[in-house]
Symmetry: C2
Subunit: 329 residues, 2 copies
Amino acid sequence: MKLTINEIAELAQVAKSTVSKALNGQKGVSEEKRKLILKLAEQLDYHPNASAQALALNRSGSIGFVLPHQAGMSLSGAYWSAIITAVAQEARSHNYNLLILSPGPDDDLAAPIDSVLKRRNVDGLIIGAEHLDSKAVSTLILEEVPFVLIGRSPNVRHYSVDVDNEAASRKIVSHLASKGRRRIACLAGPREHSYTQERVQGYLAALRDAGLEWSAVEYSNYELEEVTRAIGRLLGAHDDIDALYMTAGGEFVLDAIDVLKASKGDLSGFGMAVFDDYRFFDYLSIPISRLRQPLSAIGTTSASVLFEIMEGRKPDRLEWVLEAETVLR
Amino acid sequence: MKLTINEIAELAQVAKSTVSKALNGQKGVSEEKRKLILKLAEQLDYHPNASAQALALNRSGSIGFVLPHQAGMSLSGAYWSAIITAVAQEARSHNYNLLILSPGPDDDLAAPIDSVLKRRNVDGLIIGAEHLDSKAVSTLILEEVPFVLIGRSPNVRHYSVDVDNEAASRKIVSHLASKGRRRIACLAGPREHSYTQERVQGYLAALRDAGLEWSAVEYSNYELEEVTRAIGRLLGAHDDIDALYMTAGGEFVLDAIDVLKASKGDLSGFGMAVFDDYRFFDYLSIPISRLRQPLSAIGTTSASVLFEIMEGRKPDRLEWVLEAETVLR
DNA sequence: CTGTTAGCGCTTTCAG
DNA sequence: CTGAAAGCGCTAACAG
């Protein structure tokens, strides 16, 4: 049941090194033998043993994808799943496999990465940045592991692909302003994430663009209690808020709407914009403009950048910034 | 930079075979040497090279997870992502890695599976059944590859873990009946999927339980056009339908509600139940009762069944059926 | 162009 | 208990 290169060599009456060369398209094999060998391999459906190849070549043939902690969580799963699908596709087209590294609920991100690296299970990594400690990153760089980040972390300068958080935010908040909103508040995600900062910057820029002087930003960690408090602070301090920009989507939006409704009652006339796009937004009680991230492109791009560095080429830049699409309502 | 078993052996002044034994907890090593070796390995943070181990042991140390085609799609991604996260966890706890096999948009499911198997990249497979052709399955069985299915396919009898589609459907439709609905129609998914059939059976059983004689089932492939037509057929034939049971959730539900609204106008008083649970259901115009699948449990169970067969133990049964939780509205 | 040989790093006999 | 040696399947030098 185990078909090896030796069988092929025997059948073709050649040395296994010849088979190896023929199969790998190397030169130094007569056209005649090459044909014979390829035909044989094809007929017998021979595939070289991955472990043996990996051992001989000192390369695993897999890349790893590191999920952030909360990837399993409901809607954010949809986000990661779309990216993974694209990465898997790209990997396959390079004849690589895709390993998923999902940190346990408790243990830290570094452990699984470390092990997989030490064991030489992967040749490169794509890491959902979110909150990657710079310690882990410097280890990676030190060990010269090729890797690319999805999203960026503060204090980390490395290959990354991300969406243009600031520009997109600016655009959609400008849209709110153009609709006549004058008191546009911002409900932001966790302050420590780069993407939150960038999106807030975009928000502020849009206000400046529109000549609005008033602004208000509150941060939260996406959990109902904090969201409640954050919105409370916003509404408590200003009773004339007429629009809200949220720097992240998903269920967070539902929470926010609940809280808003509870404090303000009727929401008609209230403006809303969100960074992220889910179709159900159209079924909530107010129109929501939103930003749609190019998920497949993020996956495809990060994978191809990774393969580029794995193949020793040096990309001409460090950061790939993709556009988010605006969906105006 | 490459720390191998040889270095450890040298430092410990023993043969590498002794190191191997010590590290793998085999007997035949003096307590003294074992301690020394373990200490050394710990200090130097030695991890055996996975490929070498795989080659020597003829086992890859990875299991594969086969996604169905449309997994990247929006909300269904959330579903798979939750399962994968659980599987990854379980794999890690068995010291296995998780390989993701995602079929390309065009190519068939068999190709990637076949290659990964032939190359001995995985020791076992978890397959999102959905529509797995029985040909592929028989190949797997023939090659004696350990695998378990998530969900079931008609004509395939093999280890599988699934949710109790019929019982859950029966329960939730009974709930509709208990609320006084008398004309409960069923909007089903694709007829060829087992889960659709089972859910329809549950629906019919519930009607019988409630002593209702009237029933109506229409199938569709989840696409707006077909959904429109299916609902059209239901409403066209019966103008007194007062409730709808949908055998699947996600965006499908939004489409259905759109269509319903368009034909019936006001939906108040209309009853609705759905197999699947998303929080946004609570924000639609009518209350929706629903069934929540135990996603993590599905992942964990399928993985542990897989490991059981991989370890040569023969589970006492072929099918694991988990309960879906009902969320009544 | 071809075959022989020597590893890749690990496990596993099997003498000592 | 210990270590030398063989071998997992493949690739890469190097003679011929």
